[in-house]
């Protein structure tokens, strides 16, 4: 039983994009310094690093010690958390657990990924390690191919038109235009989506979020430890939940249903003590448009097979009933691997503090965020709440 509020006291991020002149560590240090400053100068006692592929792409493991050192925090507890694409969310959960337990007063969570030092087949091979090595990647399956198989089945089973998933990309790009840290800051029209080059049928280039470099950091503490002159509206982590499913898609009796995503959302909603209709915005994991559709269904916002209609009908637009990907999502902000879950938390905090600029959801109180590893092989869900 958690007796106190766990507060996201500080947020910091680099822009997401192709940062050719930055390294894994330099990106992370920028985010760490920004988050500590944003928290009013809280001093972290523990560092949890979310990272997915540093061992392969940057030939660097042991990020806890490295980033504590370069972040000017030598001596503190420090370790890496890896859960595929959900690494950032999993690192956030470790920070939450540490602070909630009372054993750590101030935790620093940093998500970082440096993609652009490796290109072409080597990058594809690295990404393929996120699937089941013995039963999936050995046959040449990549994450994108896996998502395309899911999308093909989904479109077929539910009689979805070929451009039925377009609304997810259109919403993301429209929202990305208002986020100065987003990789793509330009709205797109439906005809551009319809004419786009296929990546892996039926997914085209707008159905796949771009892998990109970035780092994002959060400072967590308990409410009573906030600085007296804390300058921001106070946002707490109202719930944290993580669930797993089979790693291999083929092991599932019902592939077009994200069981782990459903379980972790239901658990989080229950823990936060709210109804899902009270959620003001949802930062879902749109690494692929099909993931967004399946997530909306798993989270209970659409019936099975109808998640895509929420994008088509404006339900998820900034002005809709449940704004999603409010600062561009993975599609327009970019998908910086193990940093993505931390970016989602930052986007939620920005909305709840009223710092989301032209994309602000007026009066937002509850934000739901969820990041996935693979096709919801891991689902990490958090609910953030603005306290009054």
């Amino acid at each position: 039983m958690i007796m106190t509020d766990i507060i996201v006291a500080g947020i910091g991020q680099t822009s997401v994009g192709e940062h050719w002149d930055e390294s894994l560590r330099s990106l992370a240090v920028q985010a760490i310094q920004a988050a500590i400053k944003n928290s009013g100068g809280l001093q972290p006692q523990a560092l949890y690093v979310g990272n997915m592929l540093g061992a392969i792409l940057s030939r660097q493991t042991h990020l806890g010690a490295l980033l504590a050192d370069y972040g000017g925090l030598t001596g503190i507890e420090a370790e890496t958390v890896e859960a595929g694409g959900a690494s950032g969310g999993a690192a956030l959960r470790q920070g939450y657990l540490a602070v909630a337990s009372g054993l750590v007063d101030v935790a620093l969570v940093v998500g970082v990924e440096k993609f652009t030092d490796v290109i072409g087949p080597d990058l594809e091979a690295a990404l393929a390690t996120l699937t089941d090595a013995d039963f999936e990647s050995v046959h040449g399956l990549t994450l994108t191919a896996q998502a395309a198989l899911l999308a093909g089945r989904y479109l077929h089973e539910n009689h979805v038109p070929t451009d039925g998933l377009a609304g997810f990309a259109l919403t993301a790009h429209s929202n990305g235009a208002g986020n100065k840290n987003a990789m793509f800051r330009k709205a797109i029209a439906l005809d551009l989506y319809q004419k786009a080059e296929p990546i892996c049928d039926p997914l085209n280039i707008f159905d796949v979020a771009p892998n990109a470099d970035g780092a994002a950091a959060l400072v967590l503490t308990r409410r009573e430890l906030l600085p007296k002159d804390f300058p921001h509206p106070v946002v707490r982590l109202a719930a944290s939940s993580i669930a797993s499913d089979t790693l291999a898609l083929a092991e599932r009796s019902d592939p077009v249903w994200f069981t782990a995503a459903q379980a972790s959302v239901e658990h989080a909603i229950q823990k936060a003590g709210i109804h899902r209709e009270q959620v003001d915005l949802f930062e879902y994991y749109d690494a692929f448009s099909i993931f967004a559709a399946l997530t909306l269904e798993a989270a209970g916002y659409a019936k099975r097979g109808e998640g895509w209609k929420l994008a088509r009908d404006g339900f998820i637009a900034l002005t809709g009933q449940l704004p999603c990907a409010t600062l561009g999502g993975l599609k327009a902000r970019g998908n910086p691997g193990g940093a993505t879950g931390v970016y989602q938390a930052i986007d939620a905090v920005a909305q709840l503090r009223g710092q989301a600029g032209v994309n602000q959801i007026t009066g937002a109180r509850y934000a739901l965020i969820q990041c996935l590893g693979g096709p919801a092989s891991i689902a990490v869900t958090h609910i953030l709440e603005r306290l009054t």
């Binding site: 192709e18 050719w20 002149d21 652009t116 290109i119 072409g120």
Partner: protein
């Protein structure tokens, strides 16, 4: 920066006494590469077609063609040439100069400097700047600078559409004998690993989009901007401009970023019809421009070589050009001499079929 420590300007004025181009006759349409590798998808092809060398052609034979054309226009005694410098990334030998073969063949040996340059696609302009120094110091009356390539792209790679063969050569000499003076040059060079081929590798590797923004565009526009600032010129002061042309799009965008109009780069924009001739790409644009330029025309030439760097040269055409340009085949004579081939012939000509 002041002009003194920015520009390279020889104490003795120098210029181009003769120029020559060479493009082999075979053409591989980009749609042929697309047919073989991507199922014929015809949108977004980087060029229309590229020049492919014949089975008995290499950088030595092509350099000879270009240098001989330059000598025809220069009308000088080859024995007075004190340097033969040839830039390429596809010299036939890893060790043994192309330049000695060319120097011997044109009658410039043995009292001659000879060396091969390598700086990816800007080795040709690097040789020109070295020749400016040798002639501009008064140590030599003439120096030959050339840049040619028989560039290879890995089968199926984006570069296979454009990697082409051809180039140009120049006899650099005193300004008073020149058909165009080279008023000054400026080079912008950094350690930027956008494209490379290590020893014993057959094909180069590249960094996808990295080859654009932080490599090509940064260096080309910086070199162009800084030379114009140092000279006090602006884009409208130039009749013509030429930028390194790895494809059709990059030079047009670089020109636009520096304020040049499509008309200013039109004569030198050859990549759509011959491809990327690497060390020859910028300077064959210059020969095509000299083929049509008039006395008094001012030309800005900006090369780019991966690795990376750009040389910018400020050139003014003299009244000697009209009488000399008809003394050898023009650039477009070679481009018009066209035999289209399919991918199978291309694979045979370029040694892509393993015979043993």
């Amino acid at each position: 920066m002041t002009e003194n420590n920015t520009l390279l300007k020889p104490s003795r004025p120098v210029g181009i006494v003769g120029y020559g181009a060479y493009v082999p006759r075979y053409r591989l349409p980009a749609k042929e590469v697309a047919r073989v590798w991507v199922g014929g998808r015809a949108t977004g092809l980087p060029i229309k077609e590229k020049a492919v060398p014949g089975q008995d052609e290499d950088v030595v034979t092509m350099s000879l063609e270009a240098v001989r054309n330059a000598l025809k226009r220069a009308g000088i005694d080859p024995a007075e040439i004190r340097a033969v410098w040839i830039g390429s990334e596809s010299h036939p030998y890893a060790v043994k100069p192309t330049s000695t073969i060319v120097a011997e063949a044109i009658g410039a040996a043995p009292h001659v400097q000879a060396a091969d340059m390598e700086f990816a696609c800007k080795a040709g302009t690097e040789a020109m700047v070295m020749a400016m120094g040798l002639v501009g110091s008064g140590m030599a009356r003439y120096a030959v600078a050339a840049g040619l390539d028989t560039a290879q792209g890995k089968p199926g790679d984006a570069l296979e559409y454009t990697a082409a063969a051809g180039g140009a050569a120049f006899v650099i000499g005193p300004a008073e004998e020149s058909l165009a003076t080279i008023n000054a040059s400026f080079s912008y060079v950094t350690d930027t690993p956008d494209f490379w081929r290590r020893e014993y590798q057959h094909y180069p590797e590249h960094g996808n989009r990295f080859t654009g923004e932080p490599a090509y565009f940064k260096h080309s526009t910086a070199a162009g901007k800084i030379i114009m600032e140092a000279l006090g010129t602006k884009s409208s002061d130039y009749t013509w401009a030429i930028f390194h042309q790895p494809n059709a799009k990059f030079p047009q965008r670089a020109a636009s970023l520096l304020g040049f109009t499509p008309e200013q780069i039109r004569p030198g924009l050859l990549s759509p019809v011959i491809g990327n001739t690497y060390a020859g790409a910028a300077i064959i644009g210059l020969t095509a421009t000299l083929d049509v330029a008039q006395p008094g025309d001012r030309i800005l030439l900006v090369s780019f070589g991966s690795g990376a760097g750009s040389d910018a040269l400020d050139i003014t055409v003299t009244d000697k050009l009209p009488e000399r340009r008809n003394k050898a085949l023009k650039t477009h004579d070679y481009i018009a001499r066209r035999t289209e081939i399919d991918y199978a012939i291309y694979a045979r000509l370029r040694g892509k079929i393993a015979m043993k």
